[in-house]
């Protein structure tokens, strides 16, 4: 049944391939986190009742919803479209959306950066998902974090690659980095 004369040889190929896939996943992420440009995004945990209970919490950002006035000229969006959102930020904090379109803008000013997302709803406003919407809560920290909701301001420190891919670097509470993610 086993197409290889030696079973161990087939097992070795399997183990090496699977390990390589896992290492590639980690490497891809570490490269983004270590070289991506940092920005700080204000966030609101989405469901205030079941917060921080499960293994992760859903986050929503100011930039998750984009007003029609900021859409690129003549652009029509549909659910699941890939979009490029241009942000303007002084330093790394408080980025504002200045435009959204289906193509990556050619030239950017020094205080601008592009983040890639996917449309989840297109109506009068555009809802966009950036891959930053899930924060895995450390074991035993859920209750503590939940008590802070409503009293404290949450924001996320994110890294954005040149291609516009985004990843969470850490969770900030009232402007101070409280949960920083080590690379390894």
């Amino acid at each position: 049944m086993c197409p290889f004369r030696k079973y161990w040889y087939a097992l070795l190929i399997l183990a090496v391939t699977q390990t390589a896939a896992l290492v590639w996943m980690v490497g891809d992420r570490v490269a983004l986190l270590s070289s991506g440009r940092e920005i700080v995004l204000e966030t609101v945990p989405v469901d205030p009742r079941s917060l921080f209970r499960g293994d992760y919490v859903r986050l929503r950002y100011k930039i998750s919803s984009i007003d029609q006035t900021l859409w690129a000229e003549g652009a029509r969006f549909e659910r699941n479209d890939e979009v490029y959102v241009t942000l303007r930020a002084k330093g790394r904090a408080h980025p504002e959306v200045i435009s959204v379109g289906k193509n990556r803008p050619g030239t950017l000013k020094a205080d601008e950066l592009v983040i890639r997302g996917r449309v989840t709803y297109a109506g009068k406003k555009l809802s966009v998902r950036y891959g930053l919407e899930r924060y895995y809560v450390p074991e035993g920290e859920g209750k503590r974090l939940e008590r802070m909701v409503g009293k404290n301001n949450f924001s996320v420190l994110a890294a954005i690659s040149g291609a516009g891919e985004a990843a969470i670097k850490g969770l900030m509470i009232d402007g101070a980095l409280k949960y920083e993610e080590p690379l390894f």
């Binding site: 086993c2 097992l11 070795l12 996943m25 980690v26 074991e139």
Partner: protein, 364 residues
């Protein structure tokens, strides 16, 4: 626990004494039983269950998101477990305990899936969640291909189906990529010569079809499902010889067509907007088709079709009962009619039995 092998060994001894079976052949038969795990009774089943439990242990370990251990240490622990499982599979295979080595491969695949989840968790990856399932599924399919592992194939079928359903739930578009993947899995099942996988694949394609139609909120969905089911039945019937040559599966194919068509026509009748006239027409056609199927099953001595027919008949009657309650028929009238139909069928079945018994009696 080893009952089957013992009984077989005893029978083979007797058959050898009567000169029906050569000594070498008897030994070859027993060897085959040992290798297949059939003679081991519960042990291989327990091994598979243990593999599943241990995989869940790995997944729960990941879900706890334990911070006292560094990311690298957690990852290394899972890598160690991954290689350990495959090492165990190798050792068990060396000892000719193929069924147990297959369980160890399944454990390795479970740990591979847990590792993917761990990485997604450690780096707060949201991305496109079905991608993670796809990587896991590909890992399982690779194991099935390289090692000829049956449990790996079963896992791959389940995971690819999950992946496809999730994709179409997110995009709300047809996820047609699944079809070539499914064909690939069919070829793999053929190669491993494992018939249960073909049944699992048929179940997978049925699930896929429904998930697509539900996610897409297609108009006339149930009409389409019914048509697909009838098409499958017609294909299985008309191309029976060809399908049997290629897969040995024409009969099961026909039965799956029946199930799909029946679910379609059932949903069609249950739809709110179905008018009374249409309902009566559909119900009459459905009951007629079911009776035809029962008759066909009886004529060909095909128990699978026969039982599907009986099951379908009961479900159809129940559906009509709920649908017409308080509208078309009075409840008691409904039961009266249903009762009369069933009595008629019982009489029909009794006659059949008598005929069959008569024929069987005549043969002896």
């Amino acid at each position: 626990m080893f009952g089957y092998r013992k009984r077989l060994a005893r029978d083979l001894d007797r058959w050898h004494e009567r000169g029906w079976v050569e000594r070498d052949h008897a030994r070859a038969i027993l060897d085959e039983v040992d290798e297949s795990g059939l003679g081991l009774g519960l042990a291989p089943i327990l091994a598979i269950l243990a593999a599943v439990l241990l995989s869940f242990a790995a997944i729960s370990f990941v879900a706890a998101n334990w911070q006292d251990m560094s990311k690298l240490a957690r990852l290394m622990l899972l890598f160690l477990a991954l290689w350990g499982s495959y090492g165990l599979a190798w050792q068990l295979n060396e000892r000719k305990m193929t069924f147990f080595s297959d369980a160890a491969v399944l454990l390795g695949l479970g740990i591979f899936g847990a590792s993917i989840m761990l990485i997604a968790q450690m780096y707060h990856m949201e991305g496109n969640p079905p991608d993670a399932v796809l990587i896991w599924a590909a890992g399982a399919a690779l194991a099935a291909l390289l090692l000829g592992s049956k449990s790996a194939l079963a896992l791959a079928i389940i995971l690819f189906t999950l992946w496809s359903g999730w994709e179409s739930a997110l995009t709300q578009e047809w996820h047609l990529v699944f079809l070539p993947v499914w064909v690939g899995l069919v070829l793999l099942a053929q190669r491993l010569d494992w018939r249960p996988a073909l049944h699992l694949l048929m179940a997978a394609i049925i699930v896929w079809l429904f998930v697509q139609i539900i996610n897409l909120r297609i108009d006339n969905a149930f009409e389409i499902i019914t048509a697909v089911g009838l098409a499958v039945m017609a294909t299985a019937y008309l191309a029976e010889a060809w399908i049997d040559r290629a897969t040995g599966f024409a009969h099961a194919f026909f039965c799956y067509g029946m199930i799909i068509a029946f679910i379609g026509v059932l949903g069609w009748q249950l739809e709110d907007e179905t008018s009374l006239g249409k309902l009566v027409l559909l119900a009459t056609l459905t009951l007629g088709a079911i009776l035809a199927a029962i008759f066909y099953g009886w004529r060909r001595g095909d128990n699978a079709v026969l039982w599907l027919g009986y099951g379908g008949f009961s479900i159809e009657l129940l559906t009509l009962y709920f649908k017409t309650l308080g509208t078309l028929l009075d409840t008691s009238l409904f039961f009266l009619i249903a009762g009369l139909i069933v009595s008629g069928l019982a009489y029909f079945a009794w006659k059949l039995r008598q005929t069959q018994a008569g024929e069987a009696g005549g043969d002896i």
